[in-house]
Symmetry: C2
Subunit: 313 residues, 2 copies
Protein backbone atom coordinates (compact mmCIF):
# COMPACT_ATOMS: atom_id res chain seq x y z
CA UNK A 1 0.00 0.00 0.00
CA UNK A 2 1.42 3.32 -0.97
CA UNK A 3 -1.34 5.15 0.87
CA UNK A 4 -2.10 4.75 4.56
CA UNK A 5 -5.62 3.33 4.60
CA UNK A 6 -7.41 2.40 7.79
CA UNK A 7 -10.42 0.25 8.55
CA UNK A 8 -12.54 0.47 11.70
CA UNK A 9 -15.08 -1.98 13.07
CA UNK A 10 -17.35 -0.10 15.47
CA UNK A 11 -19.36 -2.38 17.70
CA UNK A 12 -21.64 -1.82 20.67
CA UNK A 13 -18.86 -3.00 23.02
CA UNK A 14 -15.56 -2.54 21.20
CA UNK A 15 -13.87 -0.42 18.56
CA UNK A 16 -11.14 -2.04 16.44
CA UNK A 17 -8.92 -0.25 13.96
CA UNK A 18 -6.07 -1.41 11.75
CA UNK A 19 -3.96 -0.32 8.79
CA UNK A 20 -4.46 -2.02 5.42
CA UNK A 21 -1.46 -4.06 4.25
CA UNK A 22 -3.18 -5.48 1.16
CA UNK A 23 -6.56 -5.88 -0.53
CA UNK A 24 -8.06 -7.57 2.51
CA UNK A 25 -5.23 -7.85 4.99
CA UNK A 26 -4.22 -5.62 7.85
CA UNK A 27 -1.53 -4.94 10.43
CA UNK A 28 -1.97 -5.36 14.20
CA UNK A 29 -5.28 -3.98 15.40
CA UNK A 30 -5.83 -1.25 17.97
CA UNK A 31 -8.72 -1.61 20.43
CA UNK A 32 -10.88 0.65 22.58
CA UNK A 33 -13.96 -0.02 24.67
CA UNK A 34 -16.91 1.74 23.02
CA UNK A 35 -18.16 4.52 25.31
CA UNK A 36 -21.66 3.71 24.06
CA UNK A 37 -23.52 5.15 27.05
CA UNK A 38 -21.86 8.55 26.55
CA UNK A 39 -23.54 9.09 23.17
CA UNK A 40 -22.44 9.65 19.57
CA UNK A 41 -19.88 12.41 20.19
CA UNK A 42 -17.94 10.36 22.70
CA UNK A 43 -18.08 7.28 20.49
CA UNK A 44 -16.84 9.19 17.44
CA UNK A 45 -14.07 10.78 19.54
CA UNK A 46 -12.97 7.29 20.59
CA UNK A 47 -12.98 6.23 16.93
CA UNK A 48 -10.75 9.21 16.05
CA UNK A 49 -8.39 8.25 18.88
CA UNK A 50 -8.25 4.69 17.72
CA UNK A 51 -7.55 5.72 14.11
CA UNK A 52 -4.73 8.03 15.23
CA UNK A 53 -3.16 5.29 17.31
CA UNK A 54 -3.41 2.87 14.39
CA UNK A 55 -1.85 5.42 12.03
CA UNK A 56 1.05 5.91 14.46
CA UNK A 57 3.43 8.49 13.03
CA UNK A 58 1.69 8.36 9.66
CA UNK A 59 -1.31 10.29 8.45
CA UNK A 60 -4.47 8.47 7.47
CA UNK A 61 -5.20 8.86 3.74
CA UNK A 62 -8.62 7.22 3.85
CA UNK A 63 -10.88 5.58 6.40
CA UNK A 64 -13.68 3.03 6.06
CA UNK A 65 -15.81 2.31 9.10
CA UNK A 66 -18.50 -0.29 9.68
CA UNK A 67 -21.35 0.84 11.91
CA UNK A 68 -24.01 -1.42 13.45
CA UNK A 69 -27.23 0.15 12.21
CA UNK A 70 -29.27 1.31 9.22
CA UNK A 71 -27.46 4.07 7.36
CA UNK A 72 -27.02 5.65 3.97
CA UNK A 73 -23.62 4.73 2.57
CA UNK A 74 -23.82 7.56 0.02
CA UNK A 75 -24.47 10.42 2.45
CA UNK A 76 -22.76 8.74 5.41
CA UNK A 77 -25.73 9.43 7.69
CA UNK A 78 -26.52 6.79 10.33
CA UNK A 79 -30.30 6.66 10.84
CA UNK A 80 -30.02 4.81 14.11
CA UNK A 81 -27.92 2.15 15.79
CA UNK A 82 -29.86 -0.11 18.15
CA UNK A 83 -26.78 -0.87 20.32
CA UNK A 84 -25.52 2.71 20.43
CA UNK A 85 -27.80 4.90 22.57
CA UNK A 86 -28.57 8.33 21.15
CA UNK A 87 -27.62 7.58 17.55
CA UNK A 88 -30.30 9.19 15.42
CA UNK A 89 -29.43 10.85 12.11
CA UNK A 90 -25.74 11.02 13.00
CA UNK A 91 -23.62 12.47 10.17
CA UNK A 92 -20.84 10.04 10.97
CA UNK A 93 -18.95 10.39 7.71
CA UNK A 94 -18.78 14.18 7.78
CA UNK A 95 -17.88 14.36 11.48
CA UNK A 96 -15.06 11.84 11.11
CA UNK A 97 -13.78 13.39 7.87
CA UNK A 98 -13.59 16.79 9.49
CA UNK A 99 -11.84 15.59 12.65
CA UNK A 100 -9.39 13.34 10.81
CA UNK A 101 -8.86 15.56 7.78
CA UNK A 102 -9.14 12.65 5.37
CA UNK A 103 -11.83 11.09 3.18
CA UNK A 104 -14.13 8.71 5.06
CA UNK A 105 -16.69 6.13 3.95
CA UNK A 106 -19.18 4.58 6.32
CA UNK A 107 -21.09 1.39 5.72
CA UNK A 108 -23.23 -1.04 7.62
CA UNK A 109 -21.24 -3.60 9.64
CA UNK A 110 -23.03 -6.59 8.08
CA UNK A 111 -22.42 -5.19 4.59
CA UNK A 112 -18.70 -4.93 5.30
CA UNK A 113 -18.59 -8.38 6.92
CA UNK A 114 -20.24 -9.76 3.78
CA UNK A 115 -17.79 -7.88 1.60
CA UNK A 116 -14.93 -9.42 3.62
CA UNK A 117 -16.32 -12.92 3.20
CA UNK A 118 -16.56 -12.29 -0.53
CA UNK A 119 -13.04 -10.86 -0.80
CA UNK A 120 -11.24 -13.23 1.53
CA UNK A 121 -13.63 -15.77 3.01
CA UNK A 122 -16.39 -18.18 2.06
CA UNK A 123 -17.46 -16.26 -1.05
CA UNK A 124 -14.08 -15.62 -2.67
CA UNK A 125 -13.97 -16.33 -6.38
CA UNK A 126 -17.72 -15.89 -6.87
CA UNK A 127 -19.55 -13.18 -8.80
CA UNK A 128 -22.89 -13.45 -7.03
CA UNK A 129 -22.77 -13.95 -3.27
CA UNK A 130 -25.26 -13.72 -0.41
CA UNK A 131 -24.05 -13.26 3.17
CA UNK A 132 -26.31 -13.78 6.16
CA UNK A 133 -25.16 -13.04 9.69
CA UNK A 134 -27.23 -14.62 12.44
CA UNK A 135 -26.56 -13.59 16.01
CA UNK A 136 -28.68 -11.36 18.29
CA UNK A 137 -30.34 -10.09 15.13
CA UNK A 138 -30.07 -11.15 11.50
CA UNK A 139 -28.27 -9.02 8.95
CA UNK A 140 -26.89 -9.60 5.53
CA UNK A 141 -25.15 -8.33 2.46
CA UNK A 142 -25.31 -8.95 -1.27
CA UNK A 143 -22.41 -9.01 -3.69
CA UNK A 144 -23.91 -9.02 -7.18
CA UNK A 145 -22.00 -8.90 -10.44
CA UNK A 146 -18.82 -8.62 -8.41
CA UNK A 147 -19.86 -5.51 -6.49
CA UNK A 148 -21.25 -4.88 -3.01
CA UNK A 149 -24.86 -4.16 -3.95
CA UNK A 150 -26.70 -1.30 -2.25
CA UNK A 151 -29.58 -0.42 -4.53
CA UNK A 152 -30.86 3.09 -3.92
CA UNK A 153 -29.56 3.22 -0.35
CA UNK A 154 -28.34 0.22 1.61
CA UNK A 155 -29.45 -3.21 0.49
CA UNK A 156 -29.00 -6.56 2.23
CA UNK A 157 -31.54 -6.39 5.09
CA UNK A 158 -32.24 -10.07 4.66
CA UNK A 159 -33.33 -10.44 8.29
CA UNK A 160 -36.46 -8.47 7.59
CA UNK A 161 -37.91 -10.49 4.76
CA UNK A 162 -41.09 -12.46 5.49
CA UNK A 163 -41.03 -16.09 6.58
CA UNK A 164 -44.37 -16.58 8.32
CA UNK A 165 -47.73 -14.80 8.41
CA UNK A 166 -48.28 -15.54 12.07
CA UNK A 167 -44.68 -15.97 13.19
CA UNK A 168 -43.26 -13.72 15.95
CA UNK A 169 -42.13 -10.14 15.37
CA UNK A 170 -38.52 -8.98 15.58
CA UNK A 171 -37.28 -6.21 17.89
CA UNK A 172 -38.17 -3.65 15.18
CA UNK A 173 -41.77 -4.87 15.30
CA UNK A 174 -41.93 -6.61 11.92
CA UNK A 175 -44.39 -9.49 12.34
CA UNK A 176 -43.26 -12.75 10.80
CA UNK A 177 -39.88 -11.63 9.50
CA UNK A 178 -36.84 -13.92 9.41
CA UNK A 179 -35.22 -12.18 12.38
CA UNK A 180 -38.36 -12.77 14.44
CA UNK A 181 -38.02 -16.53 13.87
CA UNK A 182 -34.33 -17.31 13.48
CA UNK A 183 -32.20 -14.81 15.42
CA UNK A 184 -30.59 -15.56 18.78
CA UNK A 185 -33.20 -13.31 20.36
CA UNK A 186 -35.97 -15.32 18.66
CA UNK A 187 -34.48 -18.62 19.85
CA UNK A 188 -34.33 -17.41 23.45
CA UNK A 189 -37.85 -16.02 23.16
CA UNK A 190 -39.24 -19.29 21.76
CA UNK A 191 -37.57 -21.30 24.53
CA UNK A 192 -38.98 -19.00 27.24
CA UNK A 193 -42.45 -19.19 25.70
CA UNK A 194 -42.35 -22.99 25.55
CA UNK A 195 -41.17 -23.21 29.18
CA UNK A 196 -43.89 -20.82 30.27
CA UNK A 197 -46.50 -23.00 28.64
CA UNK A 198 -45.21 -25.86 30.79
CA UNK A 199 -42.95 -27.82 28.40
CA UNK A 200 -40.49 -30.13 30.17
CA UNK A 201 -36.85 -29.18 29.64
CA UNK A 202 -33.50 -28.95 31.38
CA UNK A 203 -33.79 -25.21 30.62
CA UNK A 204 -36.50 -24.92 33.28
CA UNK A 205 -33.72 -24.59 35.90
CA UNK A 206 -32.22 -21.49 34.28
CA UNK A 207 -33.09 -17.95 35.32
CA UNK A 208 -35.33 -16.75 32.43
CA UNK A 209 -33.29 -13.54 32.20
CA UNK A 210 -30.14 -15.59 31.56
CA UNK A 211 -31.80 -17.88 29.05
CA UNK A 212 -30.13 -16.90 25.78
CA UNK A 213 -29.50 -18.72 22.50
CA UNK A 214 -26.20 -20.01 23.84
CA UNK A 215 -27.96 -21.65 26.80
CA UNK A 216 -30.49 -23.19 24.39
CA UNK A 217 -27.63 -24.46 22.25
CA UNK A 218 -25.87 -26.05 25.24
CA UNK A 219 -29.08 -27.76 26.35
CA UNK A 220 -29.70 -28.98 22.80
CA UNK A 221 -26.14 -30.33 22.57
CA UNK A 222 -26.79 -32.19 25.83
CA UNK A 223 -29.83 -33.80 24.24
CA UNK A 224 -32.67 -31.64 25.59
CA UNK A 225 -35.65 -32.21 23.27
CA UNK A 226 -37.30 -28.81 23.72
CA UNK A 227 -34.01 -27.02 23.06
CA UNK A 228 -33.40 -29.11 19.94
CA UNK A 229 -36.88 -28.37 18.64
CA UNK A 230 -36.51 -24.62 19.23
CA UNK A 231 -33.19 -24.58 17.40
CA UNK A 232 -34.55 -26.68 14.54
CA UNK A 233 -37.55 -24.37 14.10
CA UNK A 234 -35.23 -21.36 13.83
CA UNK A 235 -32.94 -23.23 11.44
CA UNK A 236 -35.89 -24.25 9.30
CA UNK A 237 -37.00 -20.60 8.94
CA UNK A 238 -33.44 -19.72 7.94
CA UNK A 239 -33.36 -22.56 5.42
CA UNK A 240 -36.66 -21.50 3.87
CA UNK A 241 -35.40 -17.93 3.55
CA UNK A 242 -32.23 -19.20 1.86
CA UNK A 243 -34.35 -21.29 -0.52
CA UNK A 244 -36.27 -18.16 -1.50
CA UNK A 245 -33.06 -16.18 -2.00
CA UNK A 246 -31.66 -18.92 -4.23
CA UNK A 247 -34.77 -18.63 -6.43
CA UNK A 248 -34.68 -14.85 -6.44
CA UNK A 249 -30.97 -14.16 -6.95
CA UNK A 250 -29.44 -17.40 -8.31
CA UNK A 251 -26.24 -16.78 -6.31
CA UNK A 252 -23.15 -18.99 -6.55
CA UNK A 253 -22.73 -19.08 -2.79
CA UNK A 254 -24.70 -18.30 0.35
CA UNK A 255 -22.57 -18.03 3.48
CA UNK A 256 -23.99 -17.94 6.98
CA UNK A 257 -21.97 -16.19 9.68
CA UNK A 258 -22.60 -14.71 13.10
CA UNK A 259 -22.56 -16.26 16.56
CA UNK A 260 -25.31 -18.78 15.86
CA UNK A 261 -23.11 -20.78 13.48
CA UNK A 262 -21.14 -21.95 16.52
CA UNK A 263 -24.08 -24.31 17.02
CA UNK A 264 -22.76 -26.28 14.02
CA UNK A 265 -24.96 -29.10 12.77
CA UNK A 266 -27.64 -28.21 15.32
CA UNK A 267 -28.25 -25.22 13.02
CA UNK A 268 -26.95 -26.46 9.67
CA UNK A 269 -28.67 -29.87 9.47
CA UNK A 270 -32.30 -28.64 9.76
CA UNK A 271 -31.40 -25.53 7.76
CA UNK A 272 -30.08 -27.56 4.82
CA UNK A 273 -33.09 -29.83 5.00
CA UNK A 274 -35.50 -26.89 4.66
CA UNK A 275 -33.80 -25.17 1.69
CA UNK A 276 -35.26 -27.48 -1.02
CA UNK A 277 -38.78 -26.91 0.33
CA UNK A 278 -38.65 -23.71 -1.73
CA UNK A 279 -35.50 -23.69 -3.86
CA UNK A 280 -35.77 -24.84 -7.46
CA UNK A 281 -33.42 -27.68 -8.39
CA UNK A 282 -31.35 -25.85 -11.03
CA UNK A 283 -30.29 -22.73 -9.12
CA UNK A 284 -29.74 -24.82 -5.98
CA UNK A 285 -27.36 -27.13 -7.87
CA UNK A 286 -25.21 -24.12 -8.73
CA UNK A 287 -25.13 -22.65 -5.24
CA UNK A 288 -22.85 -23.63 -2.36
CA UNK A 289 -24.46 -23.09 1.06
CA UNK A 290 -21.64 -22.83 3.59
CA UNK A 291 -20.53 -21.41 6.92
CA UNK A 292 -18.75 -18.07 6.85
CA UNK A 293 -14.99 -18.31 7.43
CA UNK A 294 -13.77 -15.11 9.00
CA UNK A 295 -15.64 -15.18 12.31
CA UNK A 296 -15.43 -12.02 14.39
CA UNK A 297 -12.67 -10.65 12.11
CA UNK A 298 -15.10 -10.21 9.23
CA UNK A 299 -16.10 -6.68 10.27
CA UNK A 300 -12.55 -5.37 10.48
CA UNK A 301 -11.36 -7.19 7.34
CA UNK A 302 -14.38 -5.81 5.52
CA UNK A 303 -13.62 -2.24 6.62
CA UNK A 304 -10.02 -2.69 5.43
CA UNK A 305 -11.13 -4.13 2.09
CA UNK A 306 -13.70 -1.36 1.67
CA UNK A 307 -11.10 1.33 2.41
CA UNK A 308 -8.82 -0.20 -0.21
CA UNK A 309 -11.70 -0.49 -2.71
CA UNK A 310 -12.78 3.12 -2.18
CA UNK A 311 -9.44 4.88 -1.79
CA UNK A 312 -6.55 2.87 -3.24
CA UNK A 313 -5.15 3.64 -6.67
CA UNK B 1 -32.42 -0.13 -36.99
CA UNK B 2 -29.82 -1.06 -39.55
CA UNK B 3 -30.12 -4.72 -38.66
CA UNK B 4 -33.34 -6.72 -38.85
CA UNK B 5 -33.95 -7.79 -35.28
CA UNK B 6 -37.00 -9.76 -34.22
CA UNK B 7 -38.66 -10.41 -30.89
CA UNK B 8 -40.99 -13.30 -30.11
CA UNK B 9 -43.35 -13.79 -27.19
CA UNK B 10 -44.10 -17.49 -26.91
CA UNK B 11 -47.13 -18.22 -24.73
CA UNK B 12 -49.11 -21.34 -23.97
CA UNK B 13 -51.89 -20.17 -26.33
CA UNK B 14 -50.32 -17.72 -28.78
CA UNK B 15 -47.07 -16.86 -30.48
CA UNK B 16 -46.41 -13.22 -31.36
CA UNK B 17 -43.48 -11.91 -33.38
CA UNK B 18 -42.48 -8.44 -34.53
CA UNK B 19 -39.56 -6.51 -35.99
CA UNK B 20 -37.73 -3.99 -33.81
CA UNK B 21 -38.09 -0.39 -34.95
CA UNK B 22 -36.24 1.14 -31.98
CA UNK B 23 -34.86 0.33 -28.52
CA UNK B 24 -38.24 -0.90 -27.29
CA UNK B 25 -40.62 -0.35 -30.19
CA UNK B 26 -41.77 -2.67 -32.91
CA UNK B 27 -43.67 -2.89 -36.16
CA UNK B 28 -46.98 -4.72 -36.64
CA UNK B 29 -46.99 -8.10 -34.95
CA UNK B 30 -47.54 -11.49 -36.54
CA UNK B 31 -49.58 -14.10 -34.66
CA UNK B 32 -49.93 -17.89 -34.59
CA UNK B 33 -51.85 -20.22 -32.30
CA UNK B 34 -49.31 -22.20 -30.25
CA UNK B 35 -49.57 -25.89 -31.24
CA UNK B 36 -48.78 -26.70 -27.62
CA UNK B 37 -50.32 -30.17 -27.62
CA UNK B 38 -48.09 -31.24 -30.52
CA UNK B 39 -44.91 -30.90 -28.49
CA UNK B 40 -41.69 -28.84 -28.67
CA UNK B 41 -40.79 -29.56 -32.30
CA UNK B 42 -44.14 -28.34 -33.60
CA UNK B 43 -44.03 -25.28 -31.35
CA UNK B 44 -40.53 -24.34 -32.47
CA UNK B 45 -41.53 -24.88 -36.12
CA UNK B 46 -44.44 -22.47 -35.59
CA UNK B 47 -42.02 -19.95 -34.05
CA UNK B 48 -39.75 -20.24 -37.11
CA UNK B 49 -42.77 -19.70 -39.36
CA UNK B 50 -43.83 -16.67 -37.39
CA UNK B 51 -40.33 -15.17 -37.48
CA UNK B 52 -40.11 -15.68 -41.26
CA UNK B 53 -43.45 -14.00 -41.77
CA UNK B 54 -42.41 -11.08 -39.56
CA UNK B 55 -39.12 -10.74 -41.46
CA UNK B 56 -41.04 -10.62 -44.76
CA UNK B 57 -38.55 -10.32 -47.60
CA UNK B 58 -35.74 -9.51 -45.18
CA UNK B 59 -33.45 -11.87 -43.32
CA UNK B 60 -33.47 -11.95 -39.55
CA UNK B 61 -30.14 -10.78 -38.10
CA UNK B 62 -30.95 -11.67 -34.51
CA UNK B 63 -33.85 -13.12 -32.54
CA UNK B 64 -34.82 -12.84 -28.87
CA UNK B 65 -37.61 -15.06 -27.60
CA UNK B 66 -39.40 -15.13 -24.26
CA UNK B 67 -40.43 -18.60 -23.09
CA UNK B 68 -42.80 -19.35 -20.19
CA UNK B 69 -40.69 -21.58 -17.99
CA UNK B 70 -37.46 -22.00 -16.04
CA UNK B 71 -34.48 -21.91 -18.38
CA UNK B 72 -30.83 -21.02 -18.60
CA UNK B 73 -30.39 -17.81 -20.56
CA UNK B 74 -26.69 -18.56 -21.08
CA UNK B 75 -27.03 -22.02 -22.63
CA UNK B 76 -30.52 -21.40 -24.02
CA UNK B 77 -31.83 -24.65 -22.55
CA UNK B 78 -35.45 -24.64 -21.32
CA UNK B 79 -35.70 -26.94 -18.28
CA UNK B 80 -39.45 -27.18 -18.50
CA UNK B 81 -42.48 -25.07 -19.40
CA UNK B 82 -45.58 -25.83 -17.33
CA UNK B 83 -47.98 -24.69 -20.09
CA UNK B 84 -46.14 -26.40 -22.95
CA UNK B 85 -46.52 -30.19 -22.73
CA UNK B 86 -43.37 -32.20 -23.38
CA UNK B 87 -40.88 -29.38 -22.82
CA UNK B 88 -38.05 -30.90 -20.81
CA UNK B 89 -34.46 -29.86 -21.41
CA UNK B 90 -35.32 -28.35 -24.80
CA UNK B 91 -32.28 -26.70 -26.48
CA UNK B 92 -34.50 -23.93 -27.80
CA UNK B 93 -31.71 -21.49 -28.64
CA UNK B 94 -29.66 -23.95 -30.67
CA UNK B 95 -32.66 -25.39 -32.52
CA UNK B 96 -33.94 -21.95 -33.50
CA UNK B 97 -30.47 -20.65 -34.42
CA UNK B 98 -29.90 -23.60 -36.71
CA UNK B 99 -33.28 -23.38 -38.44
CA UNK B 100 -33.17 -19.61 -38.83
CA UNK B 101 -29.47 -19.26 -39.54
CA UNK B 102 -29.11 -16.32 -37.19
CA UNK B 103 -28.03 -15.71 -33.59
CA UNK B 104 -30.77 -16.35 -31.03
CA UNK B 105 -31.16 -15.53 -27.33
CA UNK B 106 -33.84 -17.08 -25.17
CA UNK B 107 -35.04 -15.74 -21.86
CA UNK B 108 -37.85 -16.26 -19.42
CA UNK B 109 -41.06 -14.46 -20.36
CA UNK B 110 -41.35 -12.72 -16.97
CA UNK B 111 -37.72 -11.57 -17.20
CA UNK B 112 -38.39 -9.98 -20.59
CA UNK B 113 -41.68 -8.45 -19.43
CA UNK B 114 -39.76 -6.91 -16.51
CA UNK B 115 -37.05 -5.68 -18.87
CA UNK B 116 -39.77 -4.08 -21.02
CA UNK B 117 -41.32 -2.33 -18.01
CA UNK B 118 -37.87 -1.02 -17.10
CA UNK B 119 -37.03 0.16 -20.62
CA UNK B 120 -40.42 1.56 -21.60
CA UNK B 121 -42.93 1.18 -18.77
CA UNK B 122 -43.32 1.70 -15.05
CA UNK B 123 -39.62 1.36 -14.26
CA UNK B 124 -38.12 3.62 -16.90
CA UNK B 125 -35.48 6.00 -15.62
CA UNK B 126 -34.60 3.85 -12.61
CA UNK B 127 -31.37 2.01 -11.91
CA UNK B 128 -32.79 -0.60 -9.52
CA UNK B 129 -36.15 -2.07 -10.40
CA UNK B 130 -38.24 -5.03 -9.26
CA UNK B 131 -40.99 -6.44 -11.48
CA UNK B 132 -43.61 -8.84 -10.19
CA UNK B 133 -46.17 -10.43 -12.47
CA UNK B 134 -49.21 -11.91 -10.75
CA UNK B 135 -51.62 -13.98 -12.78
CA UNK B 136 -52.12 -17.78 -12.79
CA UNK B 137 -48.68 -17.99 -11.18
CA UNK B 138 -46.30 -15.34 -9.86
CA UNK B 139 -43.11 -14.49 -11.68
CA UNK B 140 -40.70 -11.63 -11.60
CA UNK B 141 -37.56 -9.96 -12.80
CA UNK B 142 -34.82 -7.81 -11.32
CA UNK B 143 -33.05 -4.93 -13.02
CA UNK B 144 -30.09 -4.04 -10.81
CA UNK B 145 -27.44 -1.43 -11.55
CA UNK B 146 -29.16 -0.82 -14.88
CA UNK B 147 -28.94 -4.44 -16.07
CA UNK B 148 -31.36 -7.35 -16.20
CA UNK B 149 -29.95 -9.40 -13.34
CA UNK B 150 -29.63 -13.16 -13.71
CA UNK B 151 -27.08 -14.23 -11.15
CA UNK B 152 -25.52 -17.58 -11.98
CA UNK B 153 -28.47 -18.70 -14.10
CA UNK B 154 -31.85 -17.01 -14.16
CA UNK B 155 -32.78 -14.80 -11.24
CA UNK B 156 -36.13 -13.19 -10.43
CA UNK B 157 -38.24 -16.14 -9.25
CA UNK B 158 -39.93 -13.90 -6.71
CA UNK B 159 -43.06 -16.07 -6.64
CA UNK B 160 -41.18 -18.79 -4.84
CA UNK B 161 -39.91 -16.85 -1.87
CA UNK B 162 -41.43 -17.71 1.53
CA UNK B 163 -44.37 -15.81 2.96
CA UNK B 164 -45.88 -18.25 5.47
CA UNK B 165 -44.74 -21.36 7.33
CA UNK B 166 -48.16 -22.98 7.15
CA UNK B 167 -49.53 -21.23 4.08
CA UNK B 168 -50.63 -23.29 1.02
CA UNK B 169 -48.20 -24.73 -1.51
CA UNK B 170 -47.92 -23.57 -5.12
CA UNK B 171 -48.35 -25.84 -8.15
CA UNK B 172 -44.62 -26.67 -7.92
CA UNK B 173 -45.19 -27.97 -4.40
CA UNK B 174 -43.38 -25.23 -2.46
CA UNK B 175 -45.20 -24.92 0.86
CA UNK B 176 -45.83 -21.35 1.99
CA UNK B 177 -44.31 -19.56 -1.00
CA UNK B 178 -45.72 -16.29 -2.35
CA UNK B 179 -47.31 -17.98 -5.36
CA UNK B 180 -49.16 -20.40 -3.06
CA UNK B 181 -50.81 -17.43 -1.31
CA UNK B 182 -51.15 -14.66 -3.86
CA UNK B 183 -51.49 -16.06 -7.40
CA UNK B 184 -54.75 -16.32 -9.29
CA UNK B 185 -54.64 -20.05 -8.69
CA UNK B 186 -54.20 -19.44 -4.95
CA UNK B 187 -57.13 -17.01 -4.87
CA UNK B 188 -59.42 -19.50 -6.59
CA UNK B 189 -58.20 -22.27 -4.30
CA UNK B 190 -58.79 -20.19 -1.16
CA UNK B 191 -62.32 -19.29 -2.31
CA UNK B 192 -63.17 -22.94 -3.04
CA UNK B 193 -61.80 -24.02 0.33
CA UNK B 194 -63.84 -21.36 2.17
CA UNK B 195 -67.02 -22.36 0.30
CA UNK B 196 -66.38 -26.03 1.04
CA UNK B 197 -66.14 -25.25 4.73
CA UNK B 198 -69.59 -23.68 4.48
CA UNK B 199 -68.88 -19.93 4.26
CA UNK B 200 -71.78 -17.89 2.87
CA UNK B 201 -71.01 -16.19 -0.43
CA UNK B 202 -72.52 -15.33 -3.79
CA UNK B 203 -69.77 -17.59 -5.18
CA UNK B 204 -71.64 -20.63 -3.84
CA UNK B 205 -73.78 -20.59 -7.00
CA UNK B 206 -70.78 -20.99 -9.33
CA UNK B 207 -69.60 -24.35 -10.62
CA UNK B 208 -66.41 -24.95 -8.58
CA UNK B 209 -64.52 -25.85 -11.79
CA UNK B 210 -65.34 -22.38 -13.20
CA UNK B 211 -64.46 -20.55 -10.01
CA UNK B 212 -61.31 -18.65 -10.94
CA UNK B 213 -59.66 -15.47 -9.66
CA UNK B 214 -61.70 -13.40 -12.11
CA UNK B 215 -64.98 -14.77 -10.68
CA UNK B 216 -63.71 -13.98 -7.16
CA UNK B 217 -62.83 -10.47 -8.30
CA UNK B 218 -66.28 -9.91 -9.79
CA UNK B 219 -67.98 -11.15 -6.61
CA UNK B 220 -65.70 -8.91 -4.51
CA UNK B 221 -66.49 -5.90 -6.72
CA UNK B 222 -70.19 -6.66 -6.17
CA UNK B 223 -69.61 -6.54 -2.41
CA UNK B 224 -69.31 -10.21 -1.53
CA UNK B 225 -67.54 -10.39 1.85
CA UNK B 226 -65.90 -13.77 1.42
CA UNK B 227 -64.55 -12.77 -2.00
CA UNK B 228 -63.20 -9.51 -0.59
CA UNK B 229 -61.48 -11.33 2.27
CA UNK B 230 -59.90 -13.88 -0.05
CA UNK B 231 -58.57 -11.12 -2.30
CA UNK B 232 -57.30 -9.11 0.65
CA UNK B 233 -55.44 -12.10 2.09
CA UNK B 234 -53.67 -12.64 -1.22
CA UNK B 235 -52.90 -8.93 -1.52
CA UNK B 236 -51.52 -8.87 2.01
CA UNK B 237 -49.12 -11.72 1.22
CA UNK B 238 -48.00 -9.81 -1.87
CA UNK B 239 -47.52 -6.64 0.17
CA UNK B 240 -45.44 -8.42 2.79
CA UNK B 241 -43.26 -9.93 0.07
CA UNK B 242 -42.77 -6.46 -1.43
CA UNK B 243 -41.85 -5.11 2.01
CA UNK B 244 -39.17 -7.77 2.30
CA UNK B 245 -37.83 -7.02 -1.18
CA UNK B 246 -37.63 -3.31 -0.35
CA UNK B 247 -35.46 -4.19 2.67
CA UNK B 248 -33.32 -6.61 0.74
CA UNK B 249 -32.75 -4.72 -2.52
CA UNK B 250 -33.54 -1.06 -1.81
CA UNK B 251 -35.04 -0.64 -5.29
CA UNK B 252 -36.28 2.67 -6.68
CA UNK B 253 -39.45 1.10 -8.04
CA UNK B 254 -41.47 -2.08 -7.66
CA UNK B 255 -44.04 -2.60 -10.42
CA UNK B 256 -46.77 -5.20 -10.28
CA UNK B 257 -48.13 -6.55 -13.54
CA UNK B 258 -50.09 -9.57 -14.72
CA UNK B 259 -53.82 -10.23 -14.94
CA UNK B 260 -54.49 -9.75 -11.23
CA UNK B 261 -53.80 -6.02 -11.40
CA UNK B 262 -57.08 -5.64 -13.28
CA UNK B 263 -58.63 -5.97 -9.81
CA UNK B 264 -57.36 -2.45 -9.10
CA UNK B 265 -57.77 -1.21 -5.54
CA UNK B 266 -59.20 -4.56 -4.49
CA UNK B 267 -55.60 -5.74 -4.84
CA UNK B 268 -53.62 -2.54 -4.37
CA UNK B 269 -55.26 -1.17 -1.21
CA UNK B 270 -54.59 -4.15 1.10
CA UNK B 271 -51.24 -4.71 -0.62
CA UNK B 272 -50.07 -1.17 0.11
CA UNK B 273 -51.30 -1.47 3.67
CA UNK B 274 -49.21 -4.60 4.28
CA UNK B 275 -45.90 -3.32 2.86
CA UNK B 276 -44.87 -1.27 5.94
CA UNK B 277 -45.46 -4.30 8.19
CA UNK B 278 -41.98 -5.32 7.09
CA UNK B 279 -40.39 -2.51 5.08
CA UNK B 280 -38.05 -0.12 6.86
CA UNK B 281 -39.01 3.54 6.58
CA UNK B 282 -35.95 4.81 4.70
CA UNK B 283 -35.83 2.39 1.76
CA UNK B 284 -39.62 2.53 1.46
CA UNK B 285 -39.50 6.34 1.18
CA UNK B 286 -37.23 5.99 -1.85
CA UNK B 287 -39.29 3.34 -3.60
CA UNK B 288 -42.36 3.83 -5.81
CA UNK B 289 -44.79 0.89 -5.69
CA UNK B 290 -46.89 1.04 -8.85
CA UNK B 291 -48.89 -0.91 -11.39
CA UNK B 292 -47.06 -2.08 -14.49
CA UNK B 293 -47.90 -0.11 -17.62
CA UNK B 294 -47.46 -2.32 -20.65
CA UNK B 295 -50.12 -4.96 -19.98
CA UNK B 296 -50.07 -7.97 -22.29
CA UNK B 297 -47.60 -6.20 -24.62
CA UNK B 298 -44.82 -6.44 -22.04
CA UNK B 299 -43.62 -9.85 -23.24
CA UNK B 300 -43.28 -8.82 -26.88
CA UNK B 301 -41.80 -5.39 -26.09
CA UNK B 302 -39.32 -7.13 -23.76
CA UNK B 303 -38.27 -9.58 -26.47
CA UNK B 304 -37.78 -6.67 -28.88
CA UNK B 305 -35.76 -4.69 -26.34
CA UNK B 306 -33.70 -7.75 -25.47
CA UNK B 307 -32.95 -8.45 -29.16
CA UNK B 308 -31.79 -4.85 -29.54
CA UNK B 309 -29.72 -5.05 -26.33
CA UNK B 310 -28.05 -8.30 -27.38
CA UNK B 311 -27.58 -7.79 -31.13
CA UNK B 312 -27.71 -4.13 -32.11
CA UNK B 313 -24.55 -2.17 -32.78
Amino acid sequence: MTRLLIGVDLGGTNIRAAVATGEATHGPSVHRATPAAEGPDAVLAAVVDCVREAAGKGRCDGLAIGIPGPLDPVTGVVYEAPNLPGWHEVHARDVLAERLGCPVVVHNDASLAGFAEWMAGAGRGTRHFVFITASTGIGGALVLDGKLFDGAGRAGEIGHMPVGHDAPACAQGHPGCLEGSASGTAIAHAARAALKSGAASSLAGIDPAALDAHAVQQAADAGDELARRVFADAARALGRAIGGLVNELAPECVAIGGGLINAGELLFAPMREAIPELAFVEPLKRCRIVAAELGTDAGLVGAIAWAVRCFAG
